[in-house]
């Protein structure tokens, strides 16, 4: 009996991710409805934020590289790294990303770029020094999965109206004055409407923040799963994650300042987080990630 694939589907993860994305969309639609009902001048706001996000979308790879000080390396500069990436890309049929190295001893890795053709996968020197080649391959498989899943694009789109809301919250004073001033014949209502908008924006901002974080965690799990499927070695990613998180939590204090800019992109977050973290963390806790990889290992043995 021929079997098509050694791995099954993870309907649960797909469902949870779909639910979060649905809730975000619903929240945003409600937000737009409220803003329209209160006759907020949306066009200007959306224009500014749109330009901002388009800029981020198109320059995110360069911005992140600049912020972290990572340098793109050629095949001659890092032949071994390129060879691993070559094999992975050929195996998984993902377009070859650029490869960069970040000169820090903290072991970590991240991927940026709006689509697979503009992607840059970055690893730190500490990662290359500490991991075995096959563990490094598993980490690169995780980053390539991010590239393939277009996580930068998905997260940028997902945070669009959250950004609108957060700007409304932060610019409340300015916006309140403006809202009051332009009311004209509804002068008496201007102040009340502005406060209402502010409250709505706070709620939308807080809820979308939690939802975006949840989405980010699910996408991390999806990338872990992708790595296991591409490399065929779930346990290698597991051992890499254990190694990295031990090392990262030990060095987090020292490296906090210089790594903050890239924290959201890393395979393991560089900031030490405690219990509140579970809800607002960009990454799932280590034991959840290890449990998923263990499940895949078992699936493989069936």
């Amino acid at each position: 009996m021929a079997k098509q694939r050694w791995y099954g589907r993870d309907a649960g993860l797909t469902f949870r991710m779909g639910l979060v994305m649905f809730l975000l969309a619903a929240l945003y639609l409600a937000f737009i409805a409220v803003l329209l009902a209160l006759r907020v001048p949306m066009a200007f706001l959306i224009l500014i934020i749109g330009v901002m996000l388009v800029a981020q979308f198109f320059f995110s790879d360069k911005m992140v590289l600049a912020a972290t000080g990572a340098r793109v390396v050629t095949r001659q500069q890092a032949p071994d790294l390129h060879e691993i990436i070559d094999r992975l890309c050929q195996m998984s049929d993902i377009p070859r990303p650029q490869v960069a190295i970040m000169d820090t001893d903290m072991p970590n890795a991240f991927a940026t770029g709006r689509d697979p053709r503009h992607a840059v996968v970055t690893v730190t020197r500490g990662l290359m020094r500490r991991l075995e080649p096959d563990e490094l391959e598993a980490v690169l498989g995780h980053e390539l999965s991010h590239v393939k899943n277009r996580d930068v694009a998905v997260m940028t789109v997902a945070s669009f109206f959250a950004t609108v809301a957060s700007i409304l919250v932060q610019q409340f004073l300015w916006f309140g004055l403006w809202g009051g001033g332009m009311g004209g014949r509804r002068r008496g209502n201007g102040g009340n409407a502005a406060i209402l908008i502010w409250l709505v924006a706070i709620v939308v901002w807080a809820l979308s923040y939690l939802l975006i974080r949840a989405l980010s965690r699910y996408r991390e799990l999806a990338a872990d799963r992708g790595s296991a499927i591409i490399t065929g070695q779930p346990s290698k990613l597991a051992s890499a994650l254990v190694k990295i998180s031990q090392q990262v939590s030990r060095t987090a204090d020292r490296d906090l300042r210089q790594t903050d800019a890239a924290a959201a992109f890393f395979i393991v977050p560089a900031l030490r987080r405690d219990s509140l973290a579970a809800l607002i963390s960009t990454h799932p806790p280590l034991n959840v990630r290890l449990a998923q990889l263990e499940r895949l290992s078992r699936e493989m043995e069936r």
């Binding site: 009996m1 021929a2 079997k3 098509q4 694939r5 050694w6 589907r9 993870d10 993860l13 797909t14 991710m17 779909g18 994305m21 095949r75 001659q76 032949p79 060879e83 691993i84 070559d86 094999r87 890309c89 050929q90 195996m91 998984s92 049929d93 377009p95 070859r96 080649p133 096959d134 391959e137 999965s145 393939k148 899943n149 277009r150 996580d151 998905v154 699910y218 996408r219 999806a222 990338a223 799963r225 992708g226 499927i229 591409i230 490399t231 065929g232 070695q233 779930p234 346990s235 290698k236 290992s297 493989m300 043995e301």
Partner: protein
């Protein structure tokens, strides 16, 4: 990878495309005539290492069957692992068609085990260059290694141009992934 797969972050591997590899057999006389090269008597099937214990059994079974059928199939099978932990099942013997038949057997066993996506490539040595068959795309491309991490790309382009009417060649040179230092001699 479709839009929905990206949206939900699903990863799927494609099963290997084994349909076109056998056409190398009919193209062999043309290779000798037009490119003046001879098959060097070794062809390797390269597979990714899989953690599953069943996978090791699949490899062992392939080796056993090939060793047992040596009267019908004039190839001997060797076995090597490269530094990236990929398995190389190396089929030695002058007859290219026999080697391709052996490769077919390996492909079938991998498919039956559910490891079709572990098949990376097949590589046939023609002395001055190698032809690589990619199981992802079901196409051939030339690979001409001239030194450590160094390849003769202009030669590869010429070879590809000559072979284009005869074999399904990979049109995008960005997909001509190298397989450096094939471990031909490491095999028993």
């Amino acid at each position: 990878m479709g839009f929905m797969d990206a949206l939900f972050g699903r990863t799927r591997t494609r099963p290997a495309r084994v349909d076109a590899i056998f056409r190398l057999s009919t193209a062999e006389p043309d290779l000798e005539e037009k490119l003046a090269v001879r098959y060097a008597g070794r062809l390797a099937v390269v597979l990714r290492d899989m953690e599953a214990s069943r996978f090791a059994k699949v490899l062992q079974e392939a080796r056993d069957i090939l060793a047992r059928s040596s009267q019908d199939l004039p190839v001997t099978v060797g076995d090597a692992t490269d530094k990236l932990h990929f398995h190389w099942l190396i089929l030695n013997g002058k007859d290219l068609t026999a080697a391709l038949t052996g490769a077919r057997l390996i492909e079938q066993l991998a498919e039956e085990g559910g490891f079709s996506d572990a098949l990376l490539a097949a590589m046939a040595d023609f002395n001055q260059f190698c032809l690589i068959y990619s199981y992802r795309h079901g196409r051939f491309y030339p690979f001409c290694q001239t030194g450590p991490n160094h390849r003769d790309q202009s030669r590869e382009i010429r070879v590809s141009a000559v072979l284009n009417p005869l074999l399904p060649m990979e049109p995008d040179p960005g997909q001509w992934y190298p397989l450096w230092d094939p471990p031909w001699d490491a095999s028993a």
